[in-house]
Symmetry: C2
Subunit: 81 residues, 2 copies
């Protein structure tokens, strides 16, 4: 069966996020108030053909660790539908 897997890769909470800071500056310039923090990361959507949701999650986890995220700077979250 084909599962849709969503992977969210975000900068670690302990680290500064210059892209997020730039977005905050941009929102300020647009006059949008109320935004207190912005973090910018990647969203990867995969179609995985696997025997079970767990098997699909295992493939996504390996992909995240080996290719999609950098453990020094980022963490990832996986959601299987």
């Amino acid at each position: 069966m084909t599962y849709t897997v969503q992977i969210k890769v975000m900068p670690l909470k302990e680290l500064l996020d210059p892209q997020g800071k730039a977005v905050m500056g941009g929102l300020d310039n647009l006059g949008l108030t109320g935004v207190e923090d912005v973090r910018v990361g990647k969203h990867i959507s995969l179609q995985i053909n696997a025997a079970s949701p767990d098997a699909a999650r295992a493939i996504a986890e390996e992909a995240s660790k080996k290719l999609l995220s950098n453990a020094v700077m980022e963490y990832f979250e996986i959601e299987v539908n």
Copy 2:
């Protein structure tokens, strides 16, 4: 109150996604099988101080339209927690 708002910005389904294709090639090289399609987009996480979840969503929607996404190439989805 402060709401956590997640915005997902993805390339339109009708368009090619070269970054996704590159990731698919990379996964192939790693020997990960079963991945049939990959789309790569942005994930933006905001902390918004607003009177209600609806107000927070309105701010996020304006930010998405004016700054975070390009309607010609991308669509966005907003989730308020």
